[in-house]
Protein backbone atom coordinates (compact mmCIF):
# COMPACT_ATOMS: atom_id res chain seq x y z
CA UNK A 1 0.00 0.00 0.00
CA UNK A 2 2.85 2.40 0.81
CA UNK A 3 4.30 1.75 -2.68
CA UNK A 4 0.90 2.51 -4.24
CA UNK A 5 0.56 5.67 -2.17
CA UNK A 6 4.04 6.70 -3.29
CA UNK A 7 2.98 6.39 -6.93
CA UNK A 8 -0.23 8.28 -6.17
CA UNK A 9 1.82 11.13 -4.67
CA UNK A 10 3.50 11.57 -8.06
CA UNK A 11 0.16 11.17 -9.84
CA UNK A 12 -1.53 13.93 -7.86
CA UNK A 13 1.68 15.98 -7.82
CA UNK A 14 1.57 16.14 -11.62
CA UNK A 15 -2.07 17.30 -11.66
CA UNK A 16 -1.54 19.90 -8.93
CA UNK A 17 1.53 21.21 -10.78
CA UNK A 18 -0.50 21.36 -14.00
CA UNK A 19 -3.17 23.37 -12.21
CA UNK A 20 -0.54 25.82 -10.95
CA UNK A 21 1.17 26.04 -14.35
CA UNK A 22 -2.11 27.12 -15.96
CA UNK A 23 -3.29 29.22 -13.01
CA UNK A 24 -4.44 32.65 -14.16
CA UNK A 25 -4.20 31.70 -17.85
CA UNK A 26 -7.92 31.53 -18.61
CA UNK A 27 -8.97 33.84 -21.40
CA UNK A 28 -12.67 33.66 -20.60
CA UNK A 29 -14.64 33.40 -17.36
CA UNK A 30 -15.87 32.32 -14.97
CA UNK A 31 -12.72 32.93 -12.95
CA UNK A 32 -11.93 31.37 -9.55
CA UNK A 33 -12.94 34.47 -7.60
CA UNK A 34 -16.38 34.30 -9.23
CA UNK A 35 -17.20 30.68 -8.43
CA UNK A 36 -15.20 29.31 -5.48
CA UNK A 37 -17.15 29.21 -2.23
CA UNK A 38 -14.71 29.06 0.69
CA UNK A 39 -17.22 28.70 3.59
CA UNK A 40 -18.89 25.68 1.97
CA UNK A 41 -15.57 24.06 1.07
CA UNK A 42 -14.31 24.64 4.62
CA UNK A 43 -17.21 22.59 5.92
CA UNK A 44 -16.53 19.77 3.44
CA UNK A 45 -12.82 19.88 4.38
CA UNK A 46 -13.78 19.57 8.05
CA UNK A 47 -16.02 16.61 7.19
CA UNK A 48 -13.14 14.83 5.43
CA UNK A 49 -10.75 15.53 8.32
CA UNK A 50 -13.28 14.09 10.74
CA UNK A 51 -13.64 11.00 8.53
CA UNK A 52 -9.90 10.43 9.00
CA UNK A 53 -10.42 10.69 12.75
CA UNK A 54 -13.30 8.18 12.50
CA UNK A 55 -11.04 5.89 10.46
CA UNK A 56 -8.27 5.81 13.03
CA UNK A 57 -10.80 5.26 15.85
CA UNK A 58 -12.35 2.39 13.87
CA UNK A 59 -8.96 0.75 13.50
CA UNK A 60 -8.26 1.18 17.20
CA UNK A 61 -11.53 -0.48 18.25
CA UNK A 62 -11.24 -3.31 15.70
CA UNK A 63 -7.72 -4.03 16.98
CA UNK A 64 -9.07 -4.01 20.54
CA UNK A 65 -11.71 -6.55 19.50
CA UNK A 66 -14.63 -4.19 20.21
CA UNK A 67 -16.79 -5.22 17.28
CA UNK A 68 -19.73 -2.85 17.76
CA UNK A 69 -17.63 0.28 18.23
CA UNK A 70 -15.40 -0.75 15.33
CA UNK A 71 -18.38 -1.22 13.01
CA UNK A 72 -19.91 2.06 14.15
CA UNK A 73 -16.78 4.06 13.39
CA UNK A 74 -16.31 2.37 10.00
CA UNK A 75 -19.90 3.34 9.21
CA UNK A 76 -19.06 6.87 10.33
CA UNK A 77 -16.26 6.91 7.74
CA UNK A 78 -18.74 5.77 5.07
CA UNK A 79 -21.28 8.44 6.04
CA UNK A 80 -18.73 11.27 6.28
CA UNK A 81 -17.17 10.22 2.97
CA UNK A 82 -20.62 10.19 1.35
CA UNK A 83 -21.34 13.65 2.78
CA UNK A 84 -18.08 14.92 1.29
CA UNK A 85 -19.08 13.45 -2.09
CA UNK A 86 -22.44 15.18 -1.73
CA UNK A 87 -20.72 18.52 -1.17
CA UNK A 88 -18.60 17.93 -4.27
CA UNK A 89 -21.65 17.01 -6.35
CA UNK A 90 -23.46 20.18 -5.24
CA UNK A 91 -20.36 22.26 -5.94
CA UNK A 92 -19.93 20.82 -9.45
CA UNK A 93 -23.62 21.42 -10.21
CA UNK A 94 -23.38 24.99 -8.92
CA UNK A 95 -20.31 25.62 -11.09
CA UNK A 96 -22.12 24.23 -14.14
CA UNK A 97 -25.02 26.53 -13.32
CA UNK A 98 -22.58 29.47 -13.26
CA UNK A 99 -21.26 28.40 -16.65
CA UNK A 100 -18.06 26.63 -15.59
CA UNK A 101 -17.53 23.18 -17.07
CA UNK A 102 -14.33 21.30 -18.01
CA UNK A 103 -14.64 22.72 -21.53
CA UNK A 104 -15.25 26.36 -20.58
CA UNK A 105 -11.70 27.51 -19.91
CA UNK A 106 -8.32 26.29 -18.69
CA UNK A 107 -9.32 26.87 -15.06
CA UNK A 108 -12.38 24.65 -15.55
CA UNK A 109 -10.33 21.93 -17.22
CA UNK A 110 -7.58 21.75 -14.59
CA UNK A 111 -9.99 22.24 -11.68
CA UNK A 112 -12.45 19.54 -12.70
CA UNK A 113 -9.74 17.01 -13.62
CA UNK A 114 -7.92 17.43 -10.29
CA UNK A 115 -10.95 17.55 -7.99
CA UNK A 116 -12.75 14.93 -10.11
CA UNK A 117 -9.89 12.44 -9.77
CA UNK A 118 -9.79 13.12 -6.05
CA UNK A 119 -13.56 12.59 -5.90
CA UNK A 120 -13.12 9.27 -7.71
CA UNK A 121 -10.60 8.24 -5.04
CA UNK A 122 -13.10 9.19 -2.32
CA UNK A 123 -15.83 7.18 -4.07
CA UNK A 124 -13.61 4.08 -4.24
CA UNK A 125 -12.76 4.57 -0.57
CA UNK A 126 -16.41 4.85 0.45
CA UNK A 127 -17.27 1.62 -1.40
CA UNK A 128 -14.25 -0.12 0.15
CA UNK A 129 -15.26 1.07 3.65
CA UNK A 130 -18.86 -0.05 3.11
CA UNK A 131 -17.60 -3.58 2.40
CA UNK A 132 -15.40 -3.46 5.50
CA UNK A 133 -18.33 -2.22 7.62
CA UNK A 134 -20.33 -5.22 6.39
CA UNK A 135 -17.39 -7.55 7.17
CA UNK A 136 -17.00 -6.07 10.63
CA UNK A 137 -20.70 -6.38 11.35
CA UNK A 138 -20.86 -10.06 10.42
CA UNK A 139 -17.67 -10.85 12.32
CA UNK A 140 -15.37 -11.44 9.34
CA UNK A 141 -13.21 -8.45 10.26
CA UNK A 142 -11.56 -9.13 13.60
CA UNK A 143 -8.55 -8.03 15.58
CA UNK A 144 -6.41 -10.81 14.08
CA UNK A 145 -7.01 -9.61 10.52
CA UNK A 146 -7.27 -5.88 11.28
CA UNK A 147 -4.49 -5.35 8.73
CA UNK A 148 -7.23 -5.30 6.06
CA UNK A 149 -8.72 -2.25 7.74
CA UNK A 150 -5.31 -0.71 8.35
CA UNK A 151 -4.48 -0.88 4.63
CA UNK A 152 -7.84 0.66 3.72
CA UNK A 153 -7.16 3.28 6.38
CA UNK A 154 -3.83 4.23 4.82
CA UNK A 155 -5.65 4.77 1.52
CA UNK A 156 -8.32 6.86 3.23
CA UNK A 157 -5.84 9.06 5.09
CA UNK A 158 -3.94 9.57 1.85
CA UNK A 159 -7.12 10.83 0.19
CA UNK A 160 -7.42 13.20 3.14
CA UNK A 161 -3.89 14.61 2.82
CA UNK A 162 -4.36 15.14 -0.91
CA UNK A 163 -7.43 17.21 -0.09
CA UNK A 164 -5.43 19.20 2.48
CA UNK A 165 -3.13 20.25 -0.35
CA UNK A 166 -5.99 20.84 -2.84
CA UNK A 167 -7.91 22.95 -0.31
CA UNK A 168 -4.88 25.18 0.24
CA UNK A 169 -3.65 25.42 -3.35
CA UNK A 170 -6.90 25.60 -5.30
CA UNK A 171 -9.32 27.12 -2.86
CA UNK A 172 -7.49 29.36 -0.39
CA UNK A 173 -4.67 30.51 -2.65
CA UNK A 174 -6.62 30.73 -5.92
CA UNK A 175 -9.91 32.05 -4.56
CA UNK A 176 -8.81 35.63 -5.10
CA UNK A 177 -7.77 35.04 -8.72
CA UNK A 178 -9.79 37.68 -10.53
CA UNK A 179 -10.10 38.23 -14.28
CA UNK A 180 -6.93 39.67 -15.86
CA UNK A 181 -6.99 43.47 -16.24
CA UNK A 182 -9.07 44.52 -19.20
CA UNK A 183 -10.56 41.06 -19.60
CA UNK A 184 -14.32 40.91 -19.30
CA UNK A 185 -16.01 37.87 -17.86
CA UNK A 186 -17.69 35.81 -20.54
CA UNK A 187 -19.88 32.99 -19.37
CA UNK A 188 -21.31 30.35 -21.63
Amino acid sequence: MWAFLGSDVMFFGAFIATYLVYRGKSLVGPYPSEVLNIPITTVSTFVLLMSSLAMVLALHYVKEGEKNKGTLWILAVVVLGAIFMGFQFVEFREFAHLGLTPRTNIFGTTFFILTGIHGAHVTIGVIWMAFLAYSSNNGALRSDNALDLEIAGLYWHFVDIVWIVIFTVIYLISANDAPPPGMETITH
Binding site: V9, I16, V21, L49, S52, H60, F158, I161
Partner: protein
Protein backbone atom coordinates in the same frame (compact mmCIF):
# COMPACT_ATOMS: atom_id res chain seq x y z
CA UNK B 1 23.20 18.79 12.06
CA UNK B 2 23.40 14.99 11.91
CA UNK B 3 23.40 14.91 15.68
CA UNK B 4 20.27 17.07 15.87
CA UNK B 5 18.51 14.89 13.31
CA UNK B 6 19.46 11.79 15.30
CA UNK B 7 18.09 13.35 18.47
CA UNK B 8 14.83 14.16 16.72
CA UNK B 9 14.36 10.69 15.30
CA UNK B 10 15.99 8.36 17.81
CA UNK B 11 14.71 8.58 21.33
CA UNK B 12 17.27 7.84 24.04
CA UNK B 13 15.12 8.85 27.00
CA UNK B 14 16.80 12.22 27.60
CA UNK B 15 15.59 15.64 26.64
CA UNK B 16 12.07 16.90 26.02
CA UNK B 17 12.85 17.49 22.34
CA UNK B 18 13.51 13.82 21.64
CA UNK B 19 10.78 12.01 19.79
CA UNK B 20 10.15 8.38 20.72
CA UNK B 21 10.65 5.82 18.05
CA UNK B 22 9.56 2.40 19.11
CA UNK B 23 7.89 -0.15 16.82
CA UNK B 24 4.11 -0.14 16.90
CA UNK B 25 3.93 -3.67 18.31
CA UNK B 26 6.02 -2.75 21.38
CA UNK B 27 4.70 -0.88 24.40
CA UNK B 28 5.73 2.70 24.94
CA UNK B 29 8.63 3.14 27.33
CA UNK B 30 7.56 4.75 30.64
CA UNK B 31 7.05 8.51 30.58
CA UNK B 32 7.47 8.61 26.85
CA UNK B 33 5.02 10.58 24.77
CA UNK B 34 4.65 11.33 21.09
CA UNK B 35 6.66 14.50 21.61
CA UNK B 36 8.79 13.33 24.55
CA UNK B 37 9.21 14.86 28.00
CA UNK B 38 8.12 13.95 31.53
CA UNK B 39 4.85 15.86 31.93
CA UNK B 40 3.96 15.34 28.29
CA UNK B 41 4.76 11.70 28.85
CA UNK B 42 2.30 11.57 31.73
CA UNK B 43 -0.37 13.17 29.58
CA UNK B 44 0.43 10.61 26.92
CA UNK B 45 0.02 7.74 29.40
CA UNK B 46 -3.41 9.03 30.39
CA UNK B 47 -4.49 9.43 26.78
CA UNK B 48 -3.25 5.99 25.80
CA UNK B 49 -4.76 4.12 28.74
CA UNK B 50 -1.58 3.73 30.76
CA UNK B 51 1.00 3.85 28.01
CA UNK B 52 0.48 0.28 26.86
CA UNK B 53 -0.10 1.25 23.26
CA UNK B 54 1.16 3.93 20.93
CA UNK B 55 -1.98 5.92 20.84
CA UNK B 56 -5.54 5.70 22.04
CA UNK B 57 -8.83 7.40 21.23
CA UNK B 58 -7.97 10.39 23.42
CA UNK B 59 -4.82 11.12 21.47
CA UNK B 60 -6.61 10.71 18.13
CA UNK B 61 -9.30 13.15 19.24
CA UNK B 62 -6.55 15.62 20.15
CA UNK B 63 -4.98 15.26 16.70
CA UNK B 64 -8.44 15.73 15.14
CA UNK B 65 -8.96 18.87 17.24
CA UNK B 66 -5.55 20.17 16.18
CA UNK B 67 -6.35 19.59 12.48
CA UNK B 68 -9.71 21.36 12.85
CA UNK B 69 -8.14 24.37 14.58
CA UNK B 70 -5.45 24.67 11.92
CA UNK B 71 -8.15 24.57 9.21
CA UNK B 72 -10.05 27.35 10.99
CA UNK B 73 -6.86 29.42 11.22
CA UNK B 74 -6.35 28.93 7.47
CA UNK B 75 -9.83 30.22 6.72
CA UNK B 76 -9.32 33.09 9.14
CA UNK B 77 -6.13 34.03 7.26
CA UNK B 78 -8.17 33.97 4.06
CA UNK B 79 -10.51 36.57 5.56
CA UNK B 80 -7.73 38.75 6.98
CA UNK B 81 -6.56 41.55 4.73
CA UNK B 82 -3.11 43.06 4.63
CA UNK B 83 -1.03 39.90 4.95
CA UNK B 84 0.52 40.64 1.58
CA UNK B 85 3.40 38.36 0.65
CA UNK B 86 3.05 36.46 3.96
CA UNK B 87 -0.29 34.99 2.94
CA UNK B 88 0.86 32.10 0.71
CA UNK B 89 3.87 31.04 2.86
CA UNK B 90 1.65 31.02 5.97
CA UNK B 91 -0.98 28.89 4.24
CA UNK B 92 1.65 26.48 2.95
CA UNK B 93 3.14 26.18 6.44
CA UNK B 94 -0.25 25.44 8.01
CA UNK B 95 -1.02 22.96 5.24
CA UNK B 96 2.31 21.25 5.95
CA UNK B 97 1.41 21.02 9.65
CA UNK B 98 -1.84 19.23 8.79
CA UNK B 99 -0.07 17.00 6.31
CA UNK B 100 2.49 15.93 8.91
CA UNK B 101 -0.21 15.45 11.55
CA UNK B 102 -2.18 13.04 9.39
CA UNK B 103 0.83 11.16 7.97
CA UNK B 104 2.73 10.83 11.24
CA UNK B 105 -0.10 9.98 13.61
CA UNK B 106 -3.23 8.89 11.71
CA UNK B 107 -1.18 6.88 9.21
CA UNK B 108 1.14 5.69 12.01
CA UNK B 109 4.21 6.45 9.94
CA UNK B 110 5.86 7.82 13.08
CA UNK B 111 5.71 4.36 14.67
CA UNK B 112 5.98 2.14 11.60
CA UNK B 113 8.94 0.48 9.96
CA UNK B 114 11.45 3.05 8.74
CA UNK B 115 11.36 1.55 5.23
CA UNK B 116 7.83 2.95 4.79
CA UNK B 117 9.05 6.42 5.73
CA UNK B 118 11.85 6.16 3.16
CA UNK B 119 9.43 4.85 0.50
CA UNK B 120 6.91 7.61 1.05
CA UNK B 121 9.61 10.25 1.50
CA UNK B 122 11.34 9.24 -1.75
CA UNK B 123 8.02 9.48 -3.60
CA UNK B 124 7.47 12.93 -2.13
CA UNK B 125 10.92 14.01 -3.36
CA UNK B 126 10.20 12.71 -6.89
CA UNK B 127 6.73 14.31 -6.82
CA UNK B 128 8.17 17.69 -5.76
CA UNK B 129 10.88 17.31 -8.43
CA UNK B 130 8.24 16.80 -11.17
CA UNK B 131 6.30 19.72 -9.72
CA UNK B 132 9.37 22.00 -9.83
CA UNK B 133 10.27 20.92 -13.37
CA UNK B 134 6.79 21.77 -14.60
CA UNK B 135 6.95 25.20 -13.00
CA UNK B 136 10.42 25.83 -14.50
CA UNK B 137 9.14 24.68 -17.88
CA UNK B 138 6.40 27.27 -17.65
CA UNK B 139 8.83 29.98 -16.65
CA UNK B 140 11.57 29.35 -19.22
CA UNK B 141 10.10 26.93 -21.76
CA UNK B 142 8.56 29.53 -24.06
CA UNK B 143 11.57 31.84 -24.32
CA UNK B 144 13.09 32.08 -27.82
CA UNK B 145 16.69 30.89 -28.15
CA UNK B 146 19.36 33.62 -28.06
Amino acid sequence: MASLWRKLTHHDGNGWWNLPHTPSNEPNPPHEGPIGGAWLGNMWRILTHGGVSHAGPGFYWLVGLFLSIVTLVEVWLFAVEGLGSWYIPLLLFLSLLKFIGVVAFFMHLRFDHRLFTYLFGASMVVGIFIFTLLLLLLEFGNQPPN
